[in-house]
Symmetry: C2
Subunit: 307 residues, 2 copies
């Protein structure tokens, strides 16, 4: 890890048994493991795997309103991993950390049949958002449009030519940290979750935690994804709700706070994308092109199981 | 994770995307991964694997003088894992956390061909010890005697009957947290490291970091391990230096501070075990029964490779 610059607020030197740092305030921490055999799509290189592992962990912190500060990497590498691949993995992890204001300060290296990258994020927050807090009538909104990972994964697994934007969604995903901080500081968000397990699963998790349901009255489909679905006879609704590994934030807004939240987002250059509302009735329904579609809970499955 | 009691200083509820907690001061954090295929000896059950994974990570924090407070568990389970085994693993992890003053506050669950348990420890410290700081002439000391894991592992891999104390060393290892805190607060320790990669490797790491060497003038062999070695024609020196997965602390004491360090340890019921001194000359030498033995650097190998 000597190639990384060393943050000045870190007490112990690189390579010591543990990391020591001064921290005052609200610490937001999360861990997420990327397992090569289930989480790495065909064609992904080591740089991208390192990037994705870090972004995926940072997304959890972002969804609570946290700013990532420090990263610990715990690696188990397949014994056939070459030194250059290992270095690319570290570089991807380091670049993703830097992109979201964090530094890699420690880690652990092991060997396993399938490469596993466990990423711990330590972040700070002034305001925090929980999954809990939705009330019926709250506005449902998201930080971006869905379907790109569904389309991108379909393309790489079926050798279909796809727009680079769809491939970037699966190879170099992005977390919504600025948006998370803006949402948390707006004071108007009643609950927030990321969409790493798919929009459908996120809505069911929010519904379950808060004993509510959701009506989605606008299908938040990305234009590139929609075009891909039309061209390849794929279901647009599936693309939006069951893609997974998208790191948009899914949140609810207290009644009357929509403008305040929208302003908070616009100050960081982000959009308020209203897609529906919370209801007292259980379940998740989509109003699409005049029809009512029940969105069932399929959870999210590793891409391998979908082959 | 609902079966665990929830600490009051933790802000976000169980099962949220990330953990939030208030923290003020010196944060000591470390991550360590246990990989089933390389780190789990024959006969170890899931409870013990969960315990060992946590102890191993806590040992790193203990070696810096930290008190563990919070644990994040990142699991990739073999798909054949049964629910009961999963629960036992969690119970072992939880019990080990509790034993060292920490609580499991979050985690992540995945699937992989070989079970991997990545443990992140967050701890606090008033005083911290680094690997760096040894000066020639410093006294070399340890928190306990060595050789039990070497003997215990030999016993289980060769179906030799062994004293329960040797088996406990491999199945339910212990970290030296009280000792680490006492050492750090004594003010007399110039450097400290744990012995998870074997006493030999720890000495080489200390030597390398500080540009010194070591003379060990007393072989710190555990009596049970010594008896096992004699009974089974095993080399006592190998047992002490190349066992690995022992979680004793290996530390150096500034000249003239020996009594202060000894008193600090005795206040927590621990012993000051002097085993040698740091030298300006490179390398690690053992003075044993009138002979000078060069201790070579073999590193530490997973038990599988020693079969």
């Amino acid at each position: 890890m000597k190639k990384f610059s060393w943050p000045q607020d870190v007490v112990l030197p690189p390579g010591d048994d543990a990391s020591g740092l001064w921290f005052n305030g609200l610490l937001i921490t999360s861990v997420d493991m990327l397992v090569w055999s289930t989480d790495v799509p065909p064609g992904m290189n080591h740089y991208q795997a390192g990037w994705k592992a870090v972004v995926s962990a940072i997304s959890d912190v972002a969804s609570k309103g946290g700013q990532s500060r420090y990263i610990l990497l715990s690696l188990a590498l397949n014994p056939h991993t070459e030194l250059e691949q290992f270095e690319q993995l570290l570089e991807g992890a380091e670049k993703a950390s830097h992109e979201y204001g964090a530094k890699v300060i420690g880690g652990d290296l092991n060997e396993a049949d399938t490469t596993c990258i466990s990423v711990t994020v330590l972040g700070c927050a002034k305001n925090v958002m929980s999954r809990a807090g939705v009330k019926p009538g709250d506005t449902l909104a998201v930080t971006g449009l869905f379907g790109k990972t569904f389309a991108g994964l379909h393309a790489v697994m079926n050798n279909v030519k796809a727009d680079p934007g769809l491939l970037e969604a699966i190879y170099l995903p992005r977390a919504r940290m600025r948006e998370g901080i803006a949402l948390a500081s707006s004071g108007g968000v009643s609950a927030c979750i990321d969409s790493s397990d798919g929009l459908g699963e996120s809505l069911y998790l929010l519904a379950e935690t808060n004993n509510v349901g959701f009506v989605v009255d606008r299908l938040p489909i990305d234009p590139l994804a929609e075009k891909y679905c039309v061209d390849n006879w794929l279901n647009r609704v599936d693309a939006v709700f069951y893609g997974g590994e998208e790191y948009e934030l899914v949140y609810t807004v207290k009644k009357g706070w929509e403008n305040i939240v929208e302003n908070a987002l616009s100050r960081v250059g982000a959009s308020f994308i209203r897609i529906g509302r919370a209801t007292a009735m259980q379940g998740v329904q989509l109003l699409d092109q005049g029809r009512v579609v029940e969105i069932s809970r399929k959870g999210w499955q590793h891409f391998q199981r979908r082959r």
